[in-house]
Structure formats: C-alpha cells, structure tokens
C-alpha cells in the first residue's frame, strides 16, 4: 500500500471506528459500569432474587429447547425437500420460508388468534369434542418454545437447504461405491459436511431465542425470562438491577456464541462444488400418499397464521367474543388506520424512523465493509469486531445501553440527550442492523476483483470517481439487499422499541400491542397486515432488483 492510501484509509477509518465505539461499545460499558455503581450491591440483589435466578434458568432452557425444536423441524424438512420428489413438493418449498416473513410481534399475535385460549383452533377442538373449557392454554415455557420453533426453524431449513444444494453428489456416489450403506453415508459423509450449516443455523436460533422478547412478553403468563425481566426492573425504577440483568443476558449470549463456535471448531472445508443432483422419486404408492397428505397439512399449518391475521383484520372490534370465528366483518379497521390521526401516526413514525436508520446503515456499513474488504490496516480486526458486535448482544441489552447512555446532555462524558426524542429509536434500529448490512456489502465486495480499484486509480481516477464508477457498482447488490433487510426489520421492530419508545414516537409494533390490550383485535390485525404488506413489497422490490442486475 502506498503512503497516500495509508493516510486516506485512516482518514475514513477513524470517524467510522469512533462512531461505532461511541454507539455500539460505549452504551454497553455504561451498562456494566452502572451495574457496579453501588459496588457489588446490585449483583448481590440479583443473586439473592429468586425471580432473577428463575429468569436466567428459563432463558437458557428456552434457548436450548428452541434450538432442538428448530433442528428437529428444519433438518428433516430440508432433506425431504432437497432430496426427494413427491406430489406437493413445489408448494411446500414455496411456503417453507413463510414464517420468516412475519414480523416478530405479528407472528405471536397470529398464534394468539389461532391457538390461544379463545383462538380459532382451540375453540374448534373444544366445540368438536364438546369440552366444557379450552383443551389447552397457550402460555408458559411450552408455548414460547412452540412459537420459537415455528418462527425459527426457517433459519435451519434455509442454511441446511443451501448446504445440500452445494453438496457434491459425487461424494455420495464415491461413498456408496466404497460399499457404504445409506445410513453410514448419512452419518459419515453427509452430516459431517453439513455441520457448518447446522451449527451456524443453530447458533442463529440460540441467539434469537435468548434475546426473544415478544413471545415471552405475550405468552409468558407468570414466566420470567431475562429479556422481559429487564423491562420490568426498568419500569419499576430498579435501574441498577436492570443493568445487572442486561449484563448477565449479554454474557449468556456471548457464552452461547463461543460454545457454538467451539462445537464447530473442526470446520476446515468449504462446500463449493455445484452439482445438479437428481431428486429421488418416492416410488411406493402408500408413501406417496402419506407424504402428499403430510405436505398439505404442513402447508396449511404454515399459511394459517398469515390467513388468520388477514381474517381478523376484517373483524369488527369488540364483536368477537365466544364464537369460533369472528362474527362480523368490516373494512372499518383499515379505513380508521388511514383516516384517524392517532392511528396513522405510528405508521408515519415507523416508516420515517426506519428510513433514517437504513440511510445511516447504508453509509456507515458501506464504508466499514469497504475498509474491511479492500484495505489493509492495523485497525481492521477491531473494525470487524465492532461491526459484528451488535449481533452478539440481545436487542433488549442494546436498548437498555442506549437508555443508560443517551439520557442526558453531558459532553464531558460523551452523552447526548436522545431518550424521549425522535432520534433514539432510529439509533437503536441502526445499531441492530449494522451486522446485517455490513455483511451483505462485504460479501458483494469480496466477489469484486480487488485490482479493479488499483486499475481505476492507475488510469488517473480520483478516489471519488473510483468509488462512484467502480466500488459502489460492485457493492450495489449487497447494498440493496442489506438496505431492504434493514428497512424490513426496522419497520416492524419491537424489542428495542418497547424499552425506548415514547407516546410521540411510538412505532407500529407498540400500537399493535396497545390495541391488543384494548381488545381491539381487528385494528391490531390490520396493522399487522400492513406490516406484512410492507415486508412483502420490499422483498419483491429486492428480488426484482436482483433479477435486473443478474
């Protein structure tokens, strides 16, 4: 690298690293420092509180159980769809990733409408078997794991499917040529090669489950988990205790991260061979019927939550009490969303806050990815760590960190008053989406021949012209995909919002919760449908763009 390059690298890297240290690291330091503000007193309080101990255990139990459940659904489904041909395969493949298209809180609400005590499925079962009361109650640990399994198996399914697609089928043929039975091939060849995909997705499920807020918040009943316990402590004014709980939650997440990394430590190979594998036709008539029926059932289960939310969005508020299905339908819910200022406000809030956050993500994450992929400098490892860090910290912890840091104006300690203003939520969304956008841009830039930048510079182009004509076009697919993903998560964000929102800047998710509390199911569902439509529109826009550049 020449001298001018080195100077310029630091010129860009210094502000980016400083910004990340300030917004990503500093709040966590504030939280940890806060937990020790009275010496060890808050920690003693935490250790002697039965409810906190219960919350920690429950959080960890739920996380591991969610991993097991997601693997139990995701892996077989990926094998079934990837390796076998049967009637209904295409439909099943098309809807298999559907749960991922539900914003977190919306998924939980759909489950409430379906399987809750007064849910459609619950009531139907009750009616059919003429039971005096609901056959089950959707609450507690099993309910949370049930919801997690439904929303999170998608990660496992997608990772393992991608692994299977890149799996070199000649390896399988070689193994069978050497006399290995089907079971031995699976155990000794296929599964070990899929381990990276399995471990990677299991880690993702673990982190999501540990930080999960909406399912425990809505279905928890008497159950305590760390993420909800943090909010309770904060609302009770026990900030010191909230800091301890946040620290413990973050440490658990990082411990989980290290544990899964360790489990996957032997990975030294990559699957890259592209092979066109023939799917095996299921031949037995009986088995064919069985899988077809199974496929239909699974498809219905997967589509049902979406349908339910749409259905309820047309139900008149307050009319649905003890009937199986809502008795009265109306367009009023939607009309009110767009005509009543109080109901329209959250939509404007969410969209504008998501736009601000995404714009910041695009700029900062592009610069960070550019530095990480194309520049060699001594701060690179630090930058990589900073960019990945928000991923390892549960959203509740991020939010509490921001609440602890940006709660007053004090320039000497680098504090700015943002809590209670418009800016605090976009900041939280921005931080949460850094890893997502940065890794999307990084993967695009990694596909670029690094000598393109040298070539442009050598032909006399200034740094700006090189950026504009060479680097940004190369980064574009990742920038667009990352920006859309960030916008999608920000517009439906719930977990950080619930800690930081005020009435003036309440996002859609908080309004959905408020409507649920007021038993205005129709309005809550109409908001949810709107969110789903926003997500779908953005996803289609992304896909359309991908096709245009491909």
């Amino acid at each position: 690298m020449n001298d001018e390059n080195r100077k310029q690298t630091w010129l860009i890297a210094t502000p980016v690293i400083a910004l990340l240290l300030w917004t990503v690291v500093y709040p966590n330091v504030s939280v940890i420092a806060g937990s020790f503000e009275n010496g060890l007193e808050h920690w003693r309080e935490f250790a002697s509180s039965p409810s906190d101990r219960e919350a920690l255990t429950t959080s960890i139990v739920i996380s591991f159980a969610s991993v097991v459940a997601a693997l139990a659904i995701g892996v077989p489904l990926a094998f079934l769809l990837g390796r076998f041909e049967f009637p209904g395969r295409k439909v099943l493949r098309a809807v298999a990733a559907l749960p991922a298209a539900l914003p977190p809180l919306v998924g939980v609400i759909a489950f409430l409408f379906l399987y809750g005590e007064s849910g459609v499925v619950t009531r139907s079962v009750q009616h059919v078997f003429s039971m005096p009361e609901a056959p089950w109650r959707l609450s507690g640990v099993p309910a949370i794991i049930f919801v997690h399994a439904y929303t999170m198996y998608v990660y496992v399914f997608l990772f393992v499917s991608a692994g299977l697609e890149r799996f070199d089928s000649t390896l399988d043929e070689a193994a069978s040529g050497l006399g290995a039975s089907g079971w031995m091939r699976l155990r000794r060849v296929t599964l070990p090669l899929l381990m990276p995909a399995i471990a990677g997705s299991a880690l993702l499920v673990f982190m999501n489950a540990l930080g999960s807020f909406s399912a425990p918040y809505v279905f928890g009943g008497g159950i305590r988990v760390l993420s909800t316990q943090i909010l309770v402590s904060k609302l009770n004014g026990a900030l010191g205790l909230a800091y301890v709980e946040t620290t413990v939650l973050a440490i658990s997440a990082i411990a989980g991260l290290l544990l899964f990394r360790w489990l996957d430590r032997k990975r030294k190979y990559t699957l890259s061979a592209k092979s066109s594998r023939q799917r095996r036709q299921i031949k037995s008539r009986g088995l064919q019927t069985l899988t077809a029926i199974g496929a239909v059932v699974v498809v219905i289960l997967l589509v049902l939550p979406h349908l339910m939310v749409v259905l309820v969005s047309f139900a008149r508020d307050g009319a649905w009490t003890t009937q199986v299905l809502p008795p009265e339908y109306t367009l009023d819910n939607y009309r009110r969303l767009f005509s009543e200022a109080e109901l329209w406000k959250p939509i404007v809030n969410s969209v504008s806050m998501a736009l601000v956050a995404t714009a910041a993500n695009v700029v900062i994450c592009f610069l960070a990815a550019y530095l990480i992929v194309l520049r060699r400098f001594s701060g690179r490892k630090l930058l990589e760590l900073l960019v990945a860090l928000p991923w390892a910290i549960p959203a509740t912890a991020i939010a509490l960190g921001l609440a602890a840091t940006f709660n007053r104006n004090d320039i000497a300690s680098l504090r700015v008053l943002l809590v209670g203003t418009f800016w605090i939520l976009p900041l939280a969304y921005f931080i949460r989406d850094i890893p997502l956008v940065a890794s999307a841009v990084e993967s695009s830039l990694k596909q670029m021949d690094p000598s393109l930048e040298d070539a442009a510079r050598g032909l006399g182009a200034s740094w700006l012209l090189t950026m504009w004509r060479v680097i940004i076009p190369a980064a574009k697919p990742g920038l667009v995909a990352g920006a859309l993903l960030a916008a999608v998560t920000a517009v439906g964000e719930f977990v950080a919002s619930v800690v930081l929102f005020t009435h003036a800047n309440r996002p859609i998710s908080m309004e959905i919760l408020a409507q649920l509390r007021a038993l205005a199911f129709g309005t809550a569902a109409a908001y949810s449908v709107l969110l789903i439509l926003l997500v779908l529109a953005m996803t289609f826009a992304a896909r359309g763009f991908e096709e245009r550049i491909a």
Partner: protein, 355 residues
Amino acid sequence: MIKAPQAAALTLRNIGKRFGDYVAVDDVSLTVAPGELVALIGASGSGKTTTLRIVAGYESPDSGSILLGDADITRLPPQKRGFGMVFQHYALFPQMPVVENVAFGLEARGVGKTERLAKAREVLASVGLEGRADRAVQNLSGGEQQRVALARALVIEPKALLLDEPLSNLDPTLRQTTREDLRAQLHSAGVPALFVTHDQEDAFAVADRIALLKQGKLLQTGTPEELYNCPLSRDVASFIGRAVIVPAQVTESAAVLRVGEQSILFQATHAPGAQPPRGQSAIVLRPHSLRIAENGAKGLSGKISERRFTGSLVMYRVRLGDGAVVEVESKNHSYHENDSVMLVPGEKAVAVIDG
C-alpha cells in the same frame, strides 16, 4: 497508433521493500529506455510483481527511488503517474461495456463523453476489436479481454506501460500470436514498457531485455541471448533454458571437461564485464553444447538413458562414465535407449561460471 510526445526513460534506483521480516525487493536498479521492452522474470516469490507495483505506485518502497526522465516520482500516487497498466486478470470493470472500460482513463481526465468514446473506439480498432465495443466484458474471450486491457492502458497516452503477466491467462495456441501482436503494440507506443512474467518463453519472444530476479535480488540484466549464452551465475544458467552445470578446468578462452581418462575441449565465453573465472570452475552445458559423434571420433563415452522425440529434433539424455547425466539434442533420430555413444563439443562456445 498513439505516440508519446516526449518519452522519457524509466529508472529504478536501488529499490528496496520488506513486508515485516520478509525482504520482497532487495536493492534493485534498472533503466528502461523509451520504446524498450524489458521483462522482469523470476520464480513466484522472487519480488517481480512487488517491483512492478512499486513502479506503478501501488506500493511505496522502503528505500530507493523511481525516476521518469529526471523527475523523481517515488512518492507520486498511481493516479498522478500517468502510466498504463495491464493487470494479471485484466481488472476490467464488469459493469461497464468494453468501450466505457477503454474510455475510463479519459473520463478520469475530464474528457467529454463524445470525444472520449470516439477515441476509445479508435484505439479499440487499433487492437482489432472494433466490433466488440458495445459488448459486456464478461462476454469476451480471454484474448479479447487481454486486448481490451491493453487498449485501456494505451488510450491515456501513458508515459510508461506496465504489464503484470499479460499472457499467463491465454491458452497456448493464442499465446503464440498474441506475443507477436503485443511486441508490435508495445514498440509502437514508444514509451518504456516493463512487463512481469514467470514464463521465459514469453520473455524471450516479447522482450528486448530481460531482468532476472531471485529472492528480491536482480541477478542479471541483458538481452535474451546474453542471458542464455553468457549467464553470470549458476542461478541464471539454471533458470534460463535447459542447462546441466558441470565442473571444468578453465583457461582464458577454453574449458576442459574431464571424465575419468577421457576429456573434451570447449571454446569458452563468459558474461561481458564480469571477471573471467580461472582454474577449477564450472561450465554450462546446453542441449546444443554437445553432439553425438557419427564416426567414432574421440570424445566422452556415454550411454543413452532416455530418448524423447520433440518434432524436428530428438532430445537424448546421456549418462557419462562418472554417472553425470547430460542432455544432447540431435537431428539424428536413429539412436535408442541403452545405445553407447561418443560425445564431442558442439559448434558454439560454452559459458563459464564460478564453480
């Protein structure tokens, strides 16, 4: 073709570069005259690409300087040097069609769109790609991509041309014709041209002079003939061409190769300017340095251990009485493995190097 108005020589003066403890370039000095083609050759890791990148401005040397004419350009960033560079994998911008790739250097110089595209088309025509101007670069063959990269470097009327392995991605048949084209195009640009290659056939075919690097050090600079016929050292002799190096007794202009009781006398030569070795030294045997005596003349007896047909010639490996194996090429196809033969000196002088 585009001519540089006042072409100046490119000079590398005592260039040194380390990466941590690793010495990549060690005190390299070299001058390339306007219109001259110099090949930097060496094995991988010899520092040839690093040297080229220092000349281009992508790396800063730890010591030494780069001069263009009399101007010291060592600290000048690449975008201000005005050199044309052809990268190993061409580094064509994938999102721009061919003509925009070629015009990019003019765009960077603020040339208006109509003018720069017209000029780019002109240069494309000069490398025989007029029909490809609006194609996507991905849809070109390897040879065409190479020519686009060259056109892109030529269009800016570069003060020097730098090429990193310009032929290494081409298939062997294409390589032959491309070498000739490349040589003609570089010569007609009339500026110093420095190109890196690990392939000595490329270097022989294209370059006016060759600079051989090993472990960052410049071993020898000279015409292909000088390096082949008069290597300065064992390293040069064994890198350039096929060579067997054997000990010999050396005088002013002759060398005696002795095997047991038998001996033969060679005419000897050595690298110009070097101190001629005397006494017990070594000589470089090329495949034409020895020939198989047809009529029982006196020489070194040996036995053919391997016979390899190469077309017009046959390459014989002959094991001498002391076990040493030499290579001898011959027009005579009639010898076979295990035949006993007598070897006598060829017509050309052999090079003498330090034993």
